[in-house]
Symmetry: C2
């Protein structure tokens, strides 16, 4: 990497590794002793000599660090903002962070790190038990006055529109995949503690309100990107099956979809869509007995990929 003189670029690879256990979407978190403020995602540096591609680099140190064999991997976004990574301050290096989303079926195999529900970091994203109270109690008032207090009229209008779009203020429609838009508003408004941490000058006033658990570096932003991408993608690609065991009941599938989307779905309509869409086929086996009528076990019909242009689970809302 050479001596770190001013102007050196360091490429960090960050992984949002997702699994679903007990109907709860979880991300792999590693404990970094020197993490300045909060949990961090697994990350490593891109080695320009050894790694042939970014994704290869990512895969190699994920295996090395966690012993996880990740299957599905997808690039998320490349962030290069100065000031959002505290490591830059002392080293004179410039951190570019490339985020990746990885999906694993079997959480058990990770030898390092812990799996945490992603809603610990984003409590306002979980609508499964109804509209989260924190939205109307804290977040929207704070964002509202942030918009109100914007001096410049044009900028105020822009922010107002962003707020309306991201949180469905005027339309009443919550779009579950706009996770990043919502987080960026909270960050810019100084309502998450990372914003306070990163503020060098005092243009950010800490409002004593920091919903959700903070993360180190810009990792909560990367997690938001991954959540949004995954929530969007399950609606047009069958990625959800990357998170399911080989055999599953339709209700387990629905719970996984609900967990990821943070919504309750209409059970009968969900079944209809999945079955009629040709996404699954019966295995002939039944679920081990529990109270109630036993459920048939299904498997993913891989052939659906060749048959339909958009083979995915759409999300019929409503409990």
């Amino acid at each position: 990497m050479g001596t770190p003189d001013h102007g050196d670029i360091v490429v960090g690879l960050n992984a949002v590794i997702v699994t679903v256990t007990n109907e709860e979407p979880r991300v792999l978190i590693v404990q970094e002793p020197d993490a300045p403020s909060g949990d961090v995602l697994p990350f490593g540096l891109f080695d320009p000599i050894k790694d042939r591609t970014l994704e290869e680099g990512l895969r190699s140190w994920v295996v090395q660090q966690t012993d996880l064999e990740v299957g599905y991997v997808e690039q998320l976004y490349t962030f290069g903002n100065s000031g959002r990574d505290p490591r830059e301050r002392n080293s004179g290096q410039r951190f570019i962070s490339v985020g990746y989303l990885a999906l694993v079926r079997d959480a058990a195999t990770a030898t390092r790190g812990t799996w945490r529900s992603w809603y610990e970091y984003f409590p306002w994203e979980d609508w499964r038990e109804g509209r989260p109270g924190i939205l109307d109690a804290e977040i929207l008032p704070a964002l509202g006055s942030w918009v109100e207090d914007t001096p410049d009229a044009y900028l105020r209008a822009v922010r107002e529109e962003r707020l309306a779009l991201a949180f469905g203020v005027e339309s009443g429609a919550w779009t579950e995949d706009h996770v990043l838009d919502r987080f960026e508003l909270l960050y810019e408004a100084g309502i998450v503690s990372e914003a306070v941490r990163d503020a060098r000058n005092d243009d950010v006033t800490a409002p004593g309100l920091t919903p959700g658990k903070p993360m180190g570096f810009d990792h909560r932003r990367i997690l938001a990107t991954g959540m949004g991408r995954l929530r969007g993608k399950i609606q047009y690609r069958p990625v959800i099956f990357e998170l399911m065991p080989a055999e599953f009941t339709l209700f387990q599938l629905q719970c996984a979809a609900e967990g990821l989307a943070g919504l309750r779905l209409h059970k009968q309509n969900f079944r209809r869509l999945v079955e009629r869409g040709g996404l699954v086929e019966e295995t002939g086996r039944m679920e081990a007995s529990r109270p109630g009528r036993p459920a048939k076990l299904f498997r993913f019909r891989r052939n659906v990929l060749r048959e339909r242009p958009t083979p995915a689970v759409t999300l019929p809302r409503g409990g």
Copy 2:
């Protein structure tokens, strides 16, 4: 940047700058004297000292190089494959290229570069005059035998599935936004001349078949990414209006959508969707007279953003 010793990382920012003129989607191409093989996109290096963010860096040298004020900008993808950028071979540096999509309304203001139809580089992507002949005459046979000739059975199955998905071989469905998937297949199969150029060892046999105009570096891949992203995005965000003048007829809007998607659309249904979706409003003015009934002029209804979760033009196929 320091002396280029082995292991240095250089971040290149590449812009797919798109406009629509005469119903044709065009990209800004610059003439590089040292471009090894073909046209290139505008690109510049990220300056880790001056540029606060990647996007800011991009905007600054786009203005500097072309005098274009780009409005809408969106990051596409970060490529880091070694071997796909010929500059790496001599310099000992590692090139990471971050692609961006930028949309401009008024092509006239560019002071450098030329606007070229993106279908010059991707002739198989233009279905407006029906299914392109090159597909059945050249591309699909070549891809077919590439798959057939794959020795490893598992890899062959994977490739077969990718081919089926990307080109709609089995489903018969052409998904217009899978531009990158299709290009990557052509590249891996050695059917585009960039693949032949990049091949160090002889695992790629030049088949004497190189559809579409090649580009320098990995720029055709970046363009493919931009085309696919834009084609996908017009269906759920009103980005198409970033490419339209302030006032336009519904037919002009349709032609723009058709040009971008590379499809013919059903006129009456297109109107219905756009009008009922609340995307536009009448200005009261009419188009300057041409043969036929004069058309009403419309403008984008910006307020639709606050009202609807997915304000966009869906694409009703069929001429």
